[in-house]
């Protein structure tokens, strides 16, 4: 599966990070607003909630900053990595950002200027001057009252100073009623009340004189003060000393409290309230301006951050289908036809994505169809390869330049080299050092050079390992030019030809034995009868001639009988007597026999003790050994140090075990031209040889289901290698030469 890089829904940890941050930011913002709304209701709540408001705002700003930083980092990274769509996203973000930031900055600057001017306008000099004037006016109005009440109190003090103690209370009450004072109290030393008159004596008590009043009176000065009350009323407290300070009488002073008329109090209170409010605001003037500036800046920053984040967010959403299309196209280019893009919406982009998905769907179907066809071809090819591998016939495909296109296992076996790994190599190059393959290649090359594309011929390959006969057929395969190839089918028919020869020779021997043996006995009997009848009646010279002639006839007839017997023996196929015996022991016996007959012959044994015994006809195996040893000893005649080595080995081939007997000598070896036919009847290089020894050996070996090879050793001398199955069941399974010969006879018949 090719990695497509599609923007599919995120899974796992990352999937909830962004929504969680957004929800957190929203919750924090709402929380901060709620707390702010609650805090403005009273100052104590504001003090308590201020840290939380600050914390929530800080969290909101941090969350937004984290979100934005993450988005910006992702955008920068994608831009640097040339991620498809990143440049479009960056351009979109730039445009969106510029469109949003520019108005924000303009509004910000305008608002700053407006606020500065607006706040400054609140504190115009005229307003402050007006308030001050109003304050002076109300103060002047009240001062008139204060002076008036102060004068009355002073007059009262003078009057009281001249009044006796018994009339003081009456004097005070009268004065209070006359002037409308709230209370008039006469104090002695240590603020002791000497006499008092109040409006409602049952409800109120005379108030205690303030410390500054006492201080001034002690300095023998008049006292007057305006005292605002919590209910908005104004009281004028006046005091005047009664006695002359130079006298030694008790220091007394009278205190009177007058209420300012309500109209004047209300107006004065209004002026005072306005003055205080203006003072409060004026004190906050710079703080207000700074606060507004900072708040506006923070709001601007938050708005810009949110706007840029929104721009990135929506730009990425817009670009995502395009990125998906790019990634999908790349995936299709890499062979992933299973790519399906998520449908973003039902707009034009959605239609495009839908078309893309439809295209990939069709491509996938076509690809699957092609894959199925390819798999079918591959299956057919595999079947063909299996068939070719199981064929005993060699199949070799080459082009005109003799480059191997294909070769099956049997081709390699027949040609004596491994051709299955030579695909793509030049056949002459592969044939280097291999006589048999070299001759095969040369034969093919000659035919190709002659322009023969299609031929069927029998090739004789004469190599050190023996002569092989191949039946070859060459056919051109479809193709032109450099693609022109040829398939060469060949079969090793050496064994088949040998079997045919064996069958033919057997037939000849049987007929010869039959045709020649019959007249031999009458000839011999006739010669002996002539000798007995005429030898005595003839002259000594004639008798000698007769005797010599008849003896020659008899001897030659006997020789012919031996020859005929040999033919009979070759042609005869007696029943084998299969027994289990020790092959090594038999080899030892035969070797000892020949050692005793010819002590000069150096017969060496190299026997494999792992061979327990074999199931075979012991007499025939002895005949094989006799023939081979005799053959070897005859070839060693005349040598100074004749050496004969007989070795036995146990080998495994497939499911069966084989006993291998190798007979080697250091004689002249086989003649090269005879090497391929040494097992044919009447093929011999010895002057006295019948040419049937090795033929009989081969016949017996094949009857046991074995095989025999003959070659020359590299160091000199002949070597014959006999391979015999250890168990008789192996022979029955493979079939012997006799069966093949019988089959040939039946075929010929």
């Amino acid at each position: 599966m090719v990695s497509t890089g599609l923007n599919r829904p995120q899974s796992g940890r990352k999937a909830w990070v962004i929504p969680a941050l957004v929800i957190l930011w929203g919750a924090v913002g709402v929380g901060a607003l709620l707390l702010l709304a609650k805090s403005v209701q009273n100052s104590s709540a504001f003090d308590r909630l201020q840290p939380w408001i600050l914390l929530l705002n800080l969290i909101g700003v941090v969350a937004l900053t984290v979100l934005l930083a993450r988005k910006l980092w992702q955008l920068v990274r994608d831009y640097r990595d040339h991620v498809p769509g990143s440049r479009l996203t960056a351009r979109t973000v730039s445009i969106f950002g510029a469109l949003v930031v520019a108005p924000l900055v303009i509004v910000y600057l305008f608002s700053l200027d407006f606020l500065n001017r607006g706040i400054d306008s609140w504190f115009k000099v005229e307003v402050k001057q007006g308030l001050s004037d109003a304050l002076v006016l109300s103060g002047a109005a009240l001062n008139l009252r204060m002076k008036e009440y102060s004068s009355r109190t002073e007059e009262l003090a003078h009057s009281l100073a001249a009044t006796g103690p018994g009339d003081i209370q009456e004097k005070i009450d009268g004065e209070r009623r006359a002037t409308g004072a709230m209370e008039i109290v006469l104090f002695g030393e240590h603020e002791r009340i000497l006499a008092a008159s109040v409006e409602d004596p049952l409800e109120t008590l005379p108030s205690r004189p303030p410390s500054d009043l006492v201080r001034q009176i002690r300095e023998h000065r008049m006292y007057v003060s305006l005292e605002p009350q919590s209910d908005g009323q104004y009281y004028i407290r006046t005091a005047a000393p009664l006695s002359d300070p130079t006298t030694k009488a008790e220091a007394r002073y009278v205190v009177a409290i007058y209420q300012v008329p309500p109209q004047i109090s209300a107006l004065s209170e209004a002026v005072q309230r306005s003055y205080s409010q203006y003072g409060e605001l004026a004190a906050l003037r710079e703080a207000l301006k700074s606060g507004f500036r900072l708040t506006l800046t923070l709001v601007l920053l938050l708005a810009m951050l949110a706007a840029i984040y929104g721009a990135i967010f929506f730009a990425q959403r817009l670009v995502r289908p395009v990125q998906n299309l790019i990634a999908g196209t790349r995936a299709v280019g890499k062979g992933d036809f299973g790519t399906r893009l998520p449908l973003p919406s039902r707009d034009e982009m959605g239609f495009l994505v839908h078309s893309f998905n439809d295209m990939t769907k069709r491509l996938r179907r076509a690809h699957e169809e092609a894959t199925r066809s390819q798999q079918a071809v591959e299956r057919e090819r595999e079947r063909l390869a299996i068939i070719l591998a199981r064929l005993s016939t060699g199949v070799l495909a080459v082009d005109r330049m003799l480059t191997v296109r294909m070769a099956n296992q049997a081709a390699g076996s027949i040609l004596g080299t491994e051709l299955s790994v030579a695909t793509g190599r030049s056949l002459p190059e592969v044939a280097a050092g291999n006589d048999r393959l070299g001759q095969f290649v040369a034969a093919i090359a000659v035919r190709f050079a002659a322009g023969r594309d299609e031929w069927r011929e029998q090739l004789e390959l004469d190599a050190a390992a023996g002569r092989r006969t191949l039946m070859c057929a060459c056919t051109p395969m479809p193709g032109e030019g450099a693609d022109m190839a040829y398939v060469i089918v060949f079969d090793d028919i050496t064994t088949l030809l040998a079997a045919q020869r064996d069958a033919a020779w057997g037939e000849v021997a049987r007929r010869l034995a039959h045709e020649i043996k019959n007249p031999l006995t009458p000839i011999q009997l006739s010669a002996e009868r002539m000798r007995r009848k005429f030898l005595g009646s003839m002259s000594p010279s004639d008798a000698e001639i007769l005797d010599r002639s008849t003896r020659t006839i008899v001897n030659q007839v006997e020789a012919m009988q031996q020859m005929v017997n040999a033919f009979s023996e070759y042609a005869r196929a007696p029943e084998m007597k299969i027994t289990r015996f020790s092959l090594n022991q038999l080899v030892t016996e035969v070797a000892d026999l020949y050692r005793s007959q010819d002590p000069r012959a150096g017969i060496r044994l190299d026997l494999d003790e792992s061979i327990d015994g074999i199931e075979a006809d012991r007499g025939r195996i002895r005949q094989i050994l006799n023939n081979l040893v005799t053959n070897a000893l005859e070839s060693l005649e005349g040598l100074n140090s004749p050496t004969l080595e007989i070795a036995s080995r146990l080998e495994s081939g497939g499911d069966a075990s084989y006993a291998v007997v190798t007979v080697c000598d250091n004689g002249p070896g086989f003649q090269r031209e005879l090497l391929g036919r040494v097992f044919d009847p009447y093929v011999t290089s010895k002057p006295k040889g019948t040419g049937l020894g090795l033929a009989i050996v081969k016949k017996i070996v094949e009857e046991h289901g074995g095989r025999i090879d003959a070659d020359n050793r590299p160091e000199g001398g002949a070597r014959v290698r006999v391979v015999l199955p250890v168990k008789d069941s192996t022979r029955s399974a493979t079939g012997g030469a006799r069966e093949r010969r019988d089959a040939l006879r039946r075929e010929r018949a």
């Binding site: 702010l36 805090s39 403005v40 209701q41 100052s43 104590s44 504001f46 003090d47 201020q50 408001i53 600050l54 705002n57 304050l135 109300s138 103060g139 009240l142 303030p210 410390s211 500054d212 003060s225 305006l226 005292e227 605002p228 009350q229 919590s230 104004y234 004065s268 209170e269 002026v271 005072q272 003055y275 205080s276 409010q277 203006y278 003072g279 409060e280 004026a282 004190a283 906050l284 710079e286 703080a287 207000l288 301006k289 700074s290 606060g291 507004f292 900072l294 708040t295």
Partner: protein, 193 residues
């Protein structure tokens, strides 16, 4: 060091410092000075715990000028009684604030101290007398005996001064600063139960 200051990060830090300094300088006011609870104690009168405290509030020409410009100062005395717990946070039994306003009455040329809760007010001819009055808290009932049920208790007193009475609409503007208010350290002692 200078090189580091002129780097990009250094420039950013300098800008932030300037911003903060400008914001705080704009609100530097007359609240500077000693603000401390000198002493405090409680006595029980007929099952009522009465608080007595001596507080030194800041007094300087700036305060006088601010008051004469019409600014109102709010003097607060926060009182908290907590029951001590070994394995957990202390439980708050009482959390009270005595809040009084001091303003200059321009018409009468007197300093007026007004209890925010009761509305009672006192007039003083001088600022010193008004501040002295504000610094002497006597017999403020903060607790009654039934509120205590064994264990050890901690009583804490803290004084505070707030400058100005911000309109509610403007209060949101100054949510990010506390330059309009100062508080003293907590003065704490164990309640003799």
């Amino acid at each position: 060091m200078m090189q580091a200051f002129f780097t990009r990060a250094g420039l950013f830090r300098a800008l932030m410092l300037l911003l903060c300094a400008g914001a705080t300088a704009a609100f530097a006011d007359a609240l500077d000075g000693v603000l401390e609870v000198h002493s405090a104690y409680v006595n029980i009168d007929n099952g009522v715990f009465l608080l007595h405290a001596r507080v030194e509030y800041p007094i300087n020409p700036q305060i006088r000028d601010a008051l004469r410009d019409g600014v109102t100062l709010t003097f607060e005395l926060d009182t908290r009684v907590e029951r001590e717990r070994r394995l957990w946070l202390n439980a708050t039994i009482v959390d009270l604030t005595l809040r009084r306003e001091l303003m200059y009455h321009a018409v009468s040329d007197r300093y007026v101290v007004r209890d925010v809760k009761t509305g009672q007010q006192e007039n003083f001819p001088t600022l010193d007398e008004a501040i002295t009055y504000l610094g002497r808290i006597d017999g403020w009932p903060i607790l009654v005996e039934p509120q205590l049920n064994g264990g050890s208790y901690l009583i804490s007193v803290r004084a505070g001064v707030r400058r100005g009475k911000l309109p509610a609409s403007l209060r949101a503007l100054f949510f990010w600063t506390d330059d309009f208010r100062r508080v003293s350290e907590w003065y704490s002692w164990s309640l003799p139960v």
